[in-house]
Symmetry: C2
Subunit: 252 residues, 2 copies
């Protein structure tokens, strides 16, 4: 019955219609903050890795499966941060080009040209430790520094901006949970992380006073490196805060 298709089409019967997810995968190696971006075949269109939710899988499972399929990266801890639902965010003509250039039949994929509300997730990983691989839809998958991003399709620029805001607002919590710093670190190392992620230089004295005022650090022995009288203290993160902030869990 079906005509032969060169690529596997995604059927509207198998997926929840009008709902997608997108992921902002921040890469950080202690020095520079980057984001993972896909470029679609023959379109010049750049986008965040995203996808759809099967009718018989949970939202979180869909995101885990999809991010693995699209980036080749497994076991990334993704955290949901916002759902984007404006009327103007979808872009049927861009979606048409992507489907066409990838050999998809438009008739079988009409549901993809409809309006989509998207649930956005973010992750913060060390880009030195992973090797992303593009999926079959894409020419390339690359790390881009946040101040050198190409223009992204649909509202993906806005999604990145919001992710960055959430990451910056939750920096203490994220850093406690991540392994981006050694378990004991100097004030200078911590300041470098803040500066890279906030995207600005901070005054040493102000930074130190504020971060100590937040009561999230425990002070340890000094780091001796020869010049003993200049040795800086080592710190680690305390595990409990005033609000008893838990590590955020993916809850569905």
């Amino acid at each position: 019955m079906n005509e032969q298709r060169t690529v596997q089409d995604l059927s509207s019967e198998d997926f929840i219609n009008n709902l997608s997810y997108d992921s902002v995968i921040f890469g950080f190696n202690g020095k520079q903050l980057k984001i993972l971006v896909l470029e679609y075949h023959n379109t010049g269109l750049f986008a965040l890795p995203g996808g759809f939710v099967k009718r018989n899988e949970s939202l979180d499972d869909a995101v885990k499966r999809g991010v693995k399929e699209r980036t080749g990266l497994d076991d990334i801890y993704l955290e949901q941060f916002h759902t984007f639902g404006s009327l103007t965010r979808s872009n049927p003509s861009a979606m048409k080009r992507i489907l066409k250039e990838n050999g998809h039949d438009l008739k079988h994929n009409e549901w993809m040209l409809d309006r989509f509300i998207t649930v956005a997730y973010y992750a913060l990983i060390n880009y030195d430790e992973v090797s992303p691989k593009p999926d079959s839809l894409s020419d390339s998958i690359e790390w881009y520094a946040i101040d050198e991003l190409p223009s992204l399709m649909m509202d993906h620029d806005l999604i990145v901006e919001k992710a960055l805001q959430v990451l910056r607002d939750n920096l203490e919590k994220k850093l406690v949970g991540m392994n981006l710093l050694p378990s004991k670190f100097t004030m200078k190392q911590l300041q470098k992380v803040y500066e890279a992620i906030l995207g600005e230089a901070l005054r040493r004295t102000t930074f130190q006073r504020r971060i100590l005022g937040m009561n999230i650090l425990e002070r340890h022995e000094k780091l001796f490196q020869g010049k003993a009288h200049k040795a800086p203290y080592l710190y680690s993160f305390k595990s409990n805060h005033i609000n008893k902030s838990q590590e955020q869990e993916i809850t569905t």
Copy 2:
């Protein structure tokens, strides 16, 4: 063609299928934290005020419209906090009972018995200043203290729990933006707010040290009330934090 219906049915053509919203409206008067709960006609089922998104309206507009329709409350500032997408969260048999007891035709509303992913919003308002009104589906709409909540349908208990966690984790930010305290307040007034929302007694000295360490308060003149030597200082919230936390905006 259509048989006569006693109530207006919601058509699957007009709404995005498989997607809903729910709202956790916290009420607080400086002393006690409560939540707004609806009870459905003749079912004994309690639920958060929620609803669906029209195909031609944005997610945020749907929530504003829906919360007004269901609670009678207008101009509430709602903030999105999480989207719940597990496979097990929907409850077709409870939904059937609600539709039946409210005189809805099951055939016309079959889409409502399908799986739903729900986007959850919360608000924090002063319950002394508002008078909620139940919609036509519901017997009552009432404020319940958070430690005296009835059991809620579907995963609404989990949604409340998550909302409470987000509120507690973001208490400083929420309090700065809300008018739940006078613009200048004493340390004791602030401690009472924390105790009510965190649901536990705090030690005065520990609380004071931690809150001052957060560097979010500005100290003003003393509040003189007769016994001058015991007069407490007045404080107000500073507007800028280390992370340059913005007031959260609804962004779609």
